[in-house]
Amino acid sequence: MTAPEPGVRPDATEIGDARRRVEALVCDLPGGGIDERMFTEPWELRAFAMAVAAYHTGKYEWSEFQLSLINSIKRWEEGDGAEPWSYYAHWLDALETVLADNGVLSDAALDDRTRTVLAVPRNANHHEAHREPVAVSPATAS
């Protein structure tokens, strides 16, 4: 992960704080060279960050998450090997399980939301005028 471009307005929201916390965590870990990439797809990093952020906001105990992750991996190992190995698929599975178990996000709500996202095309609002800048890089000197 790269640091944000100098001069980009810091996101002062709770989500901004969570993002910075995960960024600091990941950036401070050893390793992570080009051959030991910790994440191969952007969604893996997002799944990782969501799990850490949800833990920090007290949605579950870390031990619960670990147990759930171990179980998900164990189910894969005991299976017939039809599913290809994906560590972060298990990570995501574990996250969904602990969120559901703790009443944070039900399976039904997640399915609903997934259906909605899949049903909305990427260009859903492209016929509308966008009257504000999509990005601003503020002056850092005067």
């Binding site: 260009n123 492209h126 005028a129 800048p133 999509v134 990005a135 601003v136 002056a139 000197a141």
Partner: protein, 124 residues
């Protein structure tokens, strides 16, 4: 200015100043003010420009276009859509005080109207 036509039904001109630099992109595809600028260059339609220019506009301008925007200037990135297209009015170059509209027009390049470069310098 009596400009309009297909793919340019509604357009807004963004004026660059000493403190604000504007540039345009179509984050989704390649929306572009055809009647003003013609058809877009290939890089305008390419995913690298469309995504990176939003994330790190200052860096992309400097690295890909060799155009360093001073850090005293705010950069605003505008998303053209099928409904509303933007184009940029570049800052008047130095040394053009005595020039009229006709001569100034010759200094306005396509890139400067996308916002990825300055207007050309007067040759005099």
């Amino acid at each position: 200015m009596d400009i309009g036509g297909l793919q340019g039904e509604e357009m807004i001109a963004l004026e660059n100043t000493d403190t604000v630099h504007n540039l345009i992109v179509c984050t989704l595809c390649s929306c572009y003010p055809w009647p003003v600028l013609g058809l877009p260059p290939n890089w305008y339609k390419a995913p690298p420009y469309r995504s990176r220019i939003v994330r790190e506009p200052r860096k992309v301008l400097a690295e890909d276009f060799g155009f360093v925007v001073p850090d005293t200037v705010e950069i605003r990135v505008w998303d053209s859509s099928s409904e509303l297209r933007y184009w940029v009015v570049p800052k008047r170059p130095e040394g053009t005080e005595g020039m009229g509209a006709f001569d100034l027009a010759a200094l306005v390049t396509r890139d400067s109207m996308i916002g990825v470069g300055p207007a050309a310098a007067p040759s005099s």
